[in-house]
Chain length 224, copies 2
DNA sequence: AAAAAATTCTAACTAGTGTTAGGTTTTGCC
DNA sequence: GGCAAAACCTAACACTAGTTAGAATTTTTT
């Protein structure tokens, strides 16, 4: 229980959390310093001790919104064995992404909703972080394709945009108490890799000779 | 060239278009009546002749944003033969959805970005339209599953959220001049139905006997 | 072309905005 | 306990917001 940090660290965190929540609900222009102050339990003027402007604040919130996700996925990938196959990597990345955007829900939602409305300068800086995150995913997908695990006729760029769009939308509807994040992650990974189409069971499709003999417990859940 | 509509109809449309564009760029609170007025080439006060408040305006924009997509998909589905299979239905719906959100880009983007920041009353009304659109998709998916075309172990609710999240995100990155909407739609439909995984060619996977002899032009593009 | 109706403009009001300067309180340290 | 620095508060300033009433203009109808 090392409690060395100055009093203000706690306060600054409160302001930041409050800002994320208010920005999320009211957008960039709709957020007032006074509303943040009330949520953080201090006076509007006092915010300027911690952040030098409203733009400075939103900048911090935006950065956290993406950094949280990037770090989460990067760590999850790093903790994987080197010989992990592409599908494991994808499902791991999906789970890490979802976990982060739910855990940092206020920040990621604020990021999602406010990004398009923020002054150009702030957006430009934040965009770099976004691009580098996109590059991470591109790498995961390309690696899997190089390994011969993915279709060669699929555009990985489009696939990435598709996947990230779907993942980011999750934070809009996910409510704790229902499905667990792991469940959602598993299901989403299944969609990404296998899609919705019912697989034609090989032993049945190829030579229509042998009668169907369900091979014990070998459901499509096999991997992992 | 029937030009019977009163002068104001044209003007009202201009205000609406301007509002969509400004709301899209500046969010709900960030949008000023004066900015809309300038874009629509009239004075701020004159807007009130057409719409009785800012909330009234954003309400109209939101409704158009969803209605455009809903109508587009509904029409596309209706124009399909009754015996169209599930995958055709899905690809058709995807294409219709993408076409609409690109064509009505200002409205759908405004809708996407502003929905979370709008006063509760407006959101509630608009939510019904959203729900009914979601129901359309649910129906498409369930129909396909009933026909035995889709995996039975997939949650269609999750799949729908996944798909719509991905589709709606498209409007954020799609720029005309690059890939055509049809291309994107086809690629996305492929992801939804088949995923990214390379299909194990039956003749190769089952009995590992025969040496690999690439069978001429038989890419996975087969369907359609 | 005159009268009526439909649009648009002008100018203003009130309320609330981000931000700041200077004073007040609290905190950490000897 | 006393003191300096840190943290916070108060009160205000300049500005902009949505909205409105009434005048001015344009369009339509007679």
């Amino acid at each position: 229980m090392a409690k060395k940090l100055p009093k203000s660290a706690h306060s600054q965190q409160r302001v930041l959390d409050a800002a994320a929540k208010i920005f999320r609900d009211y957008g960039y222009a709709g957020t007032t310093m006074r509303a943040i102050a009330e949520e953080a339990d201090l006076q509007a003027g006092s915010i300027y001790y911690h952040y030098k402007s409203k733009d400075d604040l939103i900048g911090a919130v935006l950065d956290i919104g993406i950094t949280a996700v990037t770090d989460s996925v990067r760590q999850a990938m790093a903790s994987l064995p080197d010989d992990a196959d592409g599908f494991t990597r994808i499902e791991t990345a999906v789970r890490a992404h979802l976990t982060a955007i739910i855990e940092f829900g206020d920040y990621t939602l604020a990021t999602r909703r406010v990004f398009g409305q923020v002054p150009e300068a702030i957006r430009a800086k934040n965009l770099k972080l976004r691009d580098s995150y996109a590059a991470m995913w591109q790498q995961i997908l390309e690696g899997a394709q190089r390994n011969g695990e993915l279709r060669n006729d699929a555009s990985l760029t489009l696939a990435r945009l598709f996947i990230l769009g779907a993942l980011n939308w999750t934070v809009e509807w996910y409510k704790p108490g229902g499905r667990s994040i792991d469940q959602v992650a598993h299901e989403f990974a299944g969609l990404i890799t296998s899609g919705l189409r019912k697989q034609t069971v090989p032993t049945l499709a190829v030579e229509a000779a042998a009668p169907v003999r369900p091979r014990a417990a070998r459901s499509a859940r096999g991997s992992r």
